[in-house]
Amino acid sequence: MRSDPVVQVQALVKRYGDKTAVDGLDLVAHRGVTAVLGPNGAGKTTTVETCEGYRKPDSGTVRVLGLDPVRQSSDLRPRVGVMLQSGGVYSGSRADEMLRHVARLHAHPLDVDALIERLGLGSCGRTSYRRLSGGQQQRLALAMAVVGRPELVFLDEPTAGLDPQARRATWDLVRDLRADGVSVILTTHYMDEAEQLADDVAIIDAGRVIAQGTPEELCRGGAENTLRFSGRPGLDVGSLLKALPADCSAAELTPGSYRVTGKVDPQLLATVTSWCAQHGVLPEKISVERHTLEDVFLELTGKELRS
């Protein structure tokens, strides 16, 4: 039995003028890390900003930690950490100044110096905010989201544009937050980020959640995986197909290079290798390709994620 959801969104609709940004969105996030995945313009930021209390729903209900983010904002704000997609810091302030300030607004903040070290911002010291690199500004915004020791943090595209090292530092912090019992809602358009970090993934497209589940569930559900092997050219694919379960397909893509698609499980692998043995074929370079979230997304939306 899971505990009460940290975020509960029901039939959320949000329009800007005649453009519908969120169109009847349902989302339930439990404790742990939930990734909201979708292309630009899918409604991720609008959804998160509604949860943060910045926007009033045109219709539908939003509850965060059981509270209404607009009407019970003053009860909710101290319990939630917010990382905006950009900005949020006085352009004239020094790197650590705004973080110390946000810490002062909380009753039991984290140790600011330790947090600065942790996020690799120690060298920024007294540099002014506007002179920080984009990655440093983003890590500072992340630090501002967690410094008040919140129960729940919203991270809007926390690693967009970060170099691999900074990205890893951010991921490590998210894992530590999770381990210490902080729930995280993060928006991303990076599949690997969702696969690496999230207990639960909600895929958003055109203002609706089109799929939700653990990364494993999403990759398994309905999706087909691929098994590839090489052998001598001109094998009898028809005979192989007969040996396979009914919902599989097999093809020789280029001479000597074969592909089997279907529900790839140990049984299927055994069937293929025994068929090869029967036909005196030594399969070289046999590989099983797991279906990725990227494939799932493409199947669900017909769109590339980063378009």
Partner: protein, 258 residues
Amino acid sequence: MTATGTGTYTPRPGAAPLPRMIAAQALLETKMLLRNGEQLLLTVVIPTLLLVLFSTVDIVDTGSGEAVDFLAPGILALAVMSTAFTGQAIATGFERRYGVLKRLAASPLPRWGLMTAKTLSVLVTEILQVILLTVIAFSLGWSPHGNPFAVLLLLVLGTAAFSGLGLLMAGTLKAEATLAAANLVFLLLLVGGGVVVPLDKFPQGAQDVLGLLPIAALSDGLRDVLQHGAGMPWGDVGILAVWAVAALTAAGTFFRWE
């Protein structure tokens, strides 16, 4: 996944006590203001230069008596306008543009707390300005008269009126438009608001209109008290009060946080 032990990040949420939040915010705002070169130019350098220049060089006929006795009240009014209106409008406009207001709106500090802190920061800056300009004016031979409470009331009402106008501008226009407009208004009111140029130099019709401006009411009121030893200049107090109520109401209604 229950929060058991006590890890570094184990949740322990809570807002700091309200007075501490407001004090921290006011301190930060004041620091940002005093660190900003353009703001200092506006709030310190220009009023000081004008006071010294116009007191010592006979540029404008300021009527009978010492020039500094005419100028000092006008420059105090200018100082209030530079901080409460121009400086606050520009700073707040860019805070809005850079998402600072948005980020703070998600912090435990309530919005009214942020506005209180901004007001405190304006008041602290004004006190520093008044001290500086008073010292300079005395060194130039200023001899003020009048009721200090009347002066205080005029300064507070002027601050309220200019803050309302500055926030109205910052909360509705783009940051760049606010920057341009706030500077332009500063310049126009400096010339046409009875700060260094007596209003009676203008044609009668213009005087009647200019006299209703908040800067004119503030400089005229301060001059009535400090130069002429009047009790309470009710006319100017009334004009400033109307501006204060109207501007703060409009700012409260139309201010957009992002």
